[in-house]
């Protein structure tokens, strides 16, 4: 049986591997790709696919369990929790995406190139999220 999900790694992101794996599961749940009861790949399957440390996979799954996205059944595997957050409503998602598209076109029209847009976004992004993250204790 093929695994429900195939992980991929971005070695240049500066994001620890276990967080990359956890993000990909959360993304799949938020977009309805994975639904409650679906099984995540076993650590062994991920190791065979990506040649990463099995403990990293287990760490990602523990993090997801702590956040309520999955639950582990000893000896059976790790599954998307019945009470995992609902997929994002299109009603919420679509207008946000459109607003972002408008902003990006505006930046291009103002003469910003790709790197300038990315830099501007990065600064704004870190302003919006840095405080929130430090209050959640994400970063040590």
């Amino acid at each position: 049986m093929a695994a429900t999900l195939r992980f991929r790694l971005d070695p240049h992101s500066g994001v620890p591997t276990y967080m990359q794996l956890a993000q990909q599961v959360r993304h799949a749940v938020e977009y309805g790709i994975l639904r409650p009861g679906d099984q995540l790949p076993t650590a062994r399957e991920v190791v065979e696919d990506l040649a990463i440390n099995p403990n990293t996979v287990l760490k990602a799954y523990r993090e997801l369990e702590r956040q309520g996205f999955v639950h582990g059944r000893p000896g059976a595997g790790t599954f998307i929790a019945a009470d995992a957050p609902e997929p994002l409503e299109r009603a919420v998602h679509t207008p946000l995406r459109r607003a972002l598209d408008r902003w990006l076109h505006g930046a291009k029209d103002a003469g910003l190139d790709r790197d300038s847009v990315a830099a501007l976004f990065t600064v704004a992004f870190q302003d919006a999220f840095s405080r929130e993250e430090s209050t959640h204790g994400r970063r040590r």
Partner: protein, 289 residues
């Protein structure tokens, strides 16, 4: 945390050259530890001291609590070791090489060693000298794993391998870790491999540990701040590890969360493992130079 390899004030000199200097290290049990550092930093010396191939000039290494010089015989049955360049007898066949492993090791699991070799589809009747570098790496690793060791030490196990052979070897090692939970220590130059498989990291520079910690904690606790050169260090929240200046701009590696909010256009982003390792290695190497 129990340490499998523990060094205490460990020093090794070759004549007037100091290979390791006053090293205190504890490598954790059941984890994969990566030894990283520039050439000549002492990685190979550390591995050779742990398996008793070298005697310390001063200080000691304990493996499973046993002294590496006086109690080597208690250590070796539990340790798998692959030296740099993976030496094997060129005129032996794969089957002969496994047989040699059986005769040389009091602890040996023939079925297990055979299964490892079979996983890679290596023909048993082939002579070592007819195998590719990648295939030889698999034979050497299979022999090291054949005794079902509690600890494997590998000196540059994936050097000179093509990307596919490299991933296949790492995947094999990680599968064994998944099954048996053994402790692995390996030295490497390719940081992508280290990030992939190593939970614990030791950066050696000039014979001393410069940075030691859990890989993901290290990645999470460092940021890169890129901003105008005028900006003072005081504006940044964290320990300054390295600052590299251009005429108008400064790139800093910081340990800590970094500035909460900067209005001068400074960009703060997570540091990659490569930036962290280089950021610790470069200043230490310049001091020594």
């Amino acid at each position: 945390m129990d340490a499998v390899v523990e060094t205490s004030a460990l020093t090794k000199r070759y004549g007037s050259v100091i290979a390791l200097s006053d090293c205190d290290l504890a490598l954790p049990e059941g984890k994969v530890t990566g030894l990283v550092g520039p050439n000549g930093a002492g990685k190979t010396t550390l591995i050779h001291l742990a398996v008793g191939l070298l005697r310390p000039t001063a200080g000691s290494v304990r493996v499973f609590g046993h002294d590496s010089v006086r109690e080597t015989s208690k250590i070796l049955p539990r340790v798998g070791f692959v030296a740099q360049d993976r030496p094997l007898y060129r005129d032996l066949t794969v089957a002969d090489t496994l047989e040699l492993g059986r005769r040389l090791n009091e602890r040996w699991d023939p079925a297990y060693a055979l299964a490892r070799v079979r996983r890679f589809g290596l023909p048993l009747s082939r002579k070592i000298r007819t195998l590719s570098t990648g295939q030889r790496a698999h034979v050497a690793t299979s022999v090291a794993l054949g005794k079902r060791p509690d600890l494997v030490l590998l000196d540059e196990p994936v050097a000179n391998l093509d990307p596919i052979a490299r991933l296949a070897l790492l995947e094999e090692l990680m599968s064994v870790v998944a099954e048996d939970g053994l402790t692995v220590v390996f030295s490497a130059n390719a940081l992508a491999d280290v990030e992939r498989v190593c939970e614990h990291l030791v950066i050696l520079v000039n014979g001393r540990p410069r940075l030691v910690g859990d890989t993901e904690e290290l990645i999470e606790s460092h940021v890169v701040a890129i901003g105008p050169r005028t900006q003072g260090v005081s504006a940044l929240d964290g320990d300054l590890i390295e600052a590299r200046h251009a005429e108008r701009q400064t790139i800093r590696l910081l340990r800590g969360p970094g500035p909460a909010r900067v209005d001068d256009g400074t960009i703060v982003r997570p540091a990659t493992l490569e930036e962290i390792v280089l950021g610790y290695m470069r200043p230490a190497m310049e001091v020594a130079a």
